[in-house]
Amino acid sequence: MAKGSIVAGCLAPHPPHLVYADNPEQNEPVSEGGWEQLRWGYERLRESLKDVDYDVIVVLSPHWQTYVGTHFIGVEKCSSKSVDPVFPNLFRFNYDLTIDVELARAIHDQAKSEGMSVKMMENPDFRVDYGTIVSCHMVRPEWDKPIVSISSNRSLSYYSVEVMQEMMMELGRSTAKAIEESGKKCVLLASNSLSHRHFVTETNPPEDMSKEHITSHAMHLGDMRMIDLMRSGKSQQIINEMPEFCDQAIAESDGGALTWLLSAMGVPSQPATLHGYGTIIGTGNAIMEWPCHTWGEQ
């Protein structure tokens, strides 16, 4: 069997506003659009992945929050309605998706053998979180690839950004190793925003773009710093600055997804492509792609 590989890694933010604005048939609310800068960004990402051959999408979302280790969905067919408890007016999405349980279990087993606290989620009534669904939908609206859904272990809450990162680095290495052994080609999605301070009021309609902007200049600077580092291939620097960034920008990367992604790709020194940046209800969001399939054997 040929070795499996990560063919692309993406920062794929998940505010439900993006799906809401896209008006797919699966989502109940209807909008007049909005957040086009980001939706065009996702369009460019989809275009870029169009001719890339891959089998599975592996996604880590901060909206499946687990406090007892990292969990993996272990149910093959998941179909239900995902309603965002924070923005239920925007996101009520009827999903019907397939989990690559084999790969999920392989990553689980590998992480376990490295001493991590992990658990398979095998309850058929479980509802897939909206972060996972939004990121996957925006990357692959056809829903024709199985996914692996990984929870966000809130180790940050218990320890520190440093410890969280150590654990996510390990999870990233385990993910890469399990993928390699699986023989599968995978696209990895870190499902998170960058700066994460929200407005506490909503415009009417929510897609009124005349009110959309970053909540503060400091948040903007934090986002731009991170984007610069990603675009110039300074992954290690991102990891080094993560504690400060999480603190100052209340960044959603505190959930570990970005660190996990960088680690799985081997903390690359290759630059990432920026497909789009925009704010959503004040939070900063970048769509980035590391085109690993072009890097050759390392």
Binding site: V68, V83, V86, R92, E122, Y158, H198, T201
Partner: protein, 462 residues
Amino acid sequence: MSGEIIKSLIVPPHPHPVLCPEKNEGWQKIRDAYDEARRQIEESDADLIIIYSTLWPSVIGHQIQADPNPEWVMVDADFHDLGSIHYSLKIDTDFAHAWNKANISRGLESRTVAYDGFPVDVGSVVALELLNPNNRIPAVICSTNVYSNRAETTVLAKSCLDVIKAQGKKAVAVSVMSLSNRMFTEPIEPHEDRIHSLKDDEWNQKILEFLSEGRLEDIGQLSRTIHDQIRVKKVVAFKPMWWLSAMNENRNDLTGKVLAYEAIHGAGAAVVVLDPQSNGTGDKEYDEDDVDFYGGDRNVLDSSEDEIESTPLNSGPALYDPVEGKTAVNTDKAPKPVGAYPHARKEGDLIYLSGVGPRQPGDNSIPGGPIKDKAGNPLNYDIKAQTRAVVDNIARILEEAGSSLDNVIDVTSFLVDMDRDFSGYNEVWAETLGKVGPTRTTLAIRALPTPIAVEMKVIVKV
């Protein structure tokens, strides 16, 4: 109608007492305590259960469940292997909408949610499953705002009380929360469960000692310290005690009973019942501004055009600088007149005040909220807060005149809604000017020039 809180509860959010109490002695004790709390509710004349859940975070203000029958299957994010809980709840939607409206009239950002498939949080599901099986009485569920501070949380409770009183409800207030919330980060066997650390246990014991003495407001005041000491920084802070204390008018002399205190996967789980009967001890000392109307950081989205719109006068006539004159008494510390007149005049040894309302100097806001919006639609308002603000304004004018409330000799009060407001106004009167003892006449009138419900005309000795 006289609505009131007839019982307050603190209960833990985890699914273990519902799904597998038999697996651990402590979980069974929590389940038994839940059952005992349920019996107490059943024996009371409660007709509403109000849940403030720390497991339902919100960003856009507070959200209140208003689906008459939320129904789905709940699976815990961590403890999915314990099983699923099918829920089908009965919500008091009238109350939900009225609470939402009351929140808005007290300056809060607030909305109701009523969507098929809305994921009711595990804490609310567990609490209602055990306290209110078969939906014996209707419930209402409110989120915890991740950004809300103490003032906002306090005002949220006050607007809830407005509605309880207006609708004559006998309500049970429930905070669904852990005490210490540090869980084991590894799976454990049921028999291995214990409070995660000695420090957590000691703080939990301290909290429960206060609560068993009915000192709820003291716990509210300690919330930030407790949060720093034994709370993992999850999305919401140790806020529910602010809410619960304000729901009990910040009292410190409730009758408290701890029905159980055990560990659930390391976290501190307690079932505590607080009854409103005074235990005869402990008076309160409120340590921060007792806010009635939320005027905090709400305008992140505003452009300058909105700022003009949201200037808090809540509409009304133009404002004047008070008229100067030899015997006139005017002050920046009282609201600006709505016509060409001074705040007061000193004639001989008497001071005559122009009619004084509750508007605030400076921002012209109305404590307790305006009585109607700009379109003239009636709003829910707090007559007590308005009356208190009137008395405070009088005191400030008198201070400028070199006198004080103690010297007030005659008052004529004007109410725009005698039926609704007389008793609240009378209560505040008794606590304030009533103690001084001026003569008083109270009149019902059709309207006042600004959207206020009460005004007083006062004569005072120098």
